[in-house]
Amino acid sequence: MIATAVISIILPLLALVLQCIFAGFSLACVPSIAAAVFAVLAFWRKGPVLAVVTVILSFLQVCMLNIQLTAILGLLSSAASVFLMISVEKYREAHPELEDPKAATKQMIIGFILPCAITLLVMYAYPVIRTFLMSFFDMPNITAPVSEWTFAGLGKYAKIFSSQSFIRSLQNMLMIWFAGGIITLALALLFAIILTSGIRFKKFFRAAIYMPNVISAVALATMWIQYIFNQQYGMLNSIIRFFNGTPINWLATDMKFWAMLGSFIFGAVGYYMLIFISGIEKIPADLYEAATIDGASKAQQAFKITFPLLKGVTKTNLTFWTINTATFYLWSKMFSPVDTEASVIVPVMYLYDTAFPSKGNMRADAGAAAAVGIVLAVIILAVYLVMNKLIKDDDIEL
């Protein structure tokens, strides 16, 4: 037990020292430090959960250490920590007096919450802060360390707002948000009202309308582009030919945006419909019964009962729609797969092209890309706050 503990404490530290000597101190060193600390804790408290965390951390250091020698050390330390885990378990079985219920609970809490907390820090807190900082700096490339950054003030924001393609992308986004939003939410509400009016095969219809949300959007977009909008054999032009009209090139520059929006709406309606349905189904049925007795028509019931009581879910839907349009990317990419076209450009696409330029003559500007991200986050936040102010939640919990 002592031997395995010593080895699983020394090995990550050794890897850490070598890493610092040959590659300098960086974020890659963090798992090694943590693995050593947890090996100490696991030995000291004889905690099985702590030992499990040690194992996870020492596997993580293998991924992050970037010199072959240290990576081999990391592998050895992973093996040692597995042995440590086994020996701690054996030690506890041999010493049942160690079972202290309180301490075991504490250890469990730490062990259970730690991986989740690490995820939050590594995947969310640190990147969000770094993106925010990046938007005020000029840097040679995305991977450049902080020491190579030069302060640019609001220069990156000035740069993106003076870029024609960014302004165009914002206009497109606004158009998707406004026109697409009205059509999508109107259709979703219409379907929701029809499906909750006592129609037959409700479950089948509901499932069929929601279906596009489940399948790969890339496959769905390919179906639309390669079949429905195809000029030669496409569905829309076949219908036009059937009525002796002139076929339209749906994917021409001036039609492309609307073609994209139409196909996107087709896929999106189902989701918002489900949320409207769940809102409608929570409205007490006796309200409608009373209204029917008083002689109110279906249309009157919709305007006087359903709509006012759907404020809460409408707010939810609007918030989701805003996030959905601000992060809109896939459909634009599918409709201009090789070179970004102005007709369908959206902010995320502009961000991608700025951060990872595909053409050789363009320089990657990570600061400007980060600024785009910040602008989008601010837009989402602003819309969310305005919505919360404008649409107050009802007294009835929906």
């Binding site: 609970t105 989740c116 089948f204 499932a207 959007a217 390919t222 054999y233 569905m235 951060a355």
Partner: protein, 292 residues
């Protein structure tokens, strides 16, 4: 799906008058669904046809027979097999590890009081709505330094981390509803707290685990933006990015039959999942999504 709609053995009398008032509703819904079905069937038929047949627009006649070889071409020549395998690997390992991280965290967050409880819960809810564009640039910088890690591992880890906030928040409500007496009984019988979780509480929330795993599977299978940045090379691309590459190379290969076969292959797994589990998925959307 339609099976469940069968009327009970005592046939209800159809009230034609009532049905007639709903006729406009039926028509609107049917137009939408017929459109969906028509184009899905066309794509399916096209995937069994030759390129000239597709170009002439008569895919339903199968004049030259049914061309299963389109699937073989898509599967092996156009690399769909590899994309498919990659996606399966990402989705399955992603789902398992997401649950292993999220379920214990969700359990202690919902049933124990400790210092950071509130902070972590709120951070998880905020993290759920942080758009991917806010985090990809720094993560790209971090992963660029993981030179020893295979690329597939990096993308898998990212997918796991990406699903953790949603999964943890989704499970909170379910752990909350469990009775305290399970833990008390287990403690009396001498079971450790961690053992109580894995042996008793974890199996008890199994239905919720299944629902959230379906969503994680769909989410990872359909992931596109992150995949384009972190897994875009032919070797490690998942189906979404792979399909985009096939579409882009269509200009040179011109095999439309194989393209539609590839579309069907990508479309099928989640579609089949949906046919069997649509009720559960729909219940999960409205149950988990709104409360958020």
């Amino acid at each position: 799906m339609a099976k469940k709609e069968k009327l009970p053995t005592v046939r209800q009398h159809i009230n034609w008058k009532k049905e007639a008032t709903m006729l406009p509703g039926y028509i609107i819904i049917l137009v939408w669904i017929v459109f969906t079905a028509a184009f899905l069937l066309w794509i399916l038929a096209a995937s069994f046809s030759t390129t000239p047949e597709i170009m002439q627009g008569n895919v339903f006649k199968f004049e030259s027979g049914v061309h299963f070889e389109n699937y073989a071409v898509a599967w092996s020549q156009q690399n769909v097999a590899r994309y498919f395998g990659n996606s399966l690997l990402y989705s399955i390992t992603g789902c398992i590890f997401t649950i292993l991280i999220s379920a214990p965290a969700s359990y202690v967050l919902s049933r124990y009081k400790f210092i950071c409880n509130k902070i972590i819960k709120n951070s998880l809810i905020i993290a759920m709505s942080v758009p991917a564009v806010m985090i990809v640039l720094p993560i790209y910088a971090i992963t660029a330094s993981w030179r020893n890690a295979p690329d597939r591992l990096i993308f898998t880890v990212l997918m796991i981390f990406f699903r953790v906030p949603y999964t943890t928040v989704f499970l909170l409500n379910f752990f909350q509803t469990l009775s305290k007496s399970y833990e008390e009984a287990a403690a009396i019988d001498g079971c450790s707290p961690a053992g109580t979780f894995w042996r008793i509480m974890f199996p008890l929330v199994q239905p919720a685990l299944v629902t959230v795993t379906i969503f994680n599977f769909l989410g990872i299978w359909n992931e596109f933006f992150m995949a384009l940045i972190f897994a875009s090379s032919q070797e490690i691309a998942p189906v979404g990015v792979g399909l985009l590459q096939i579409v882009n190379s269509m200009k040179y290969t011109g095999q439309y039959g194989a393209l539609f076969a590839a579309v069907i292959i990508v479309f099928l797994p989640t579609f089949l999942l949906y046919i069997f589990l649509s009720e559960k998925i729909i219940a999960g959307v409205t149950g988990g999504g709104v409360k958020g």
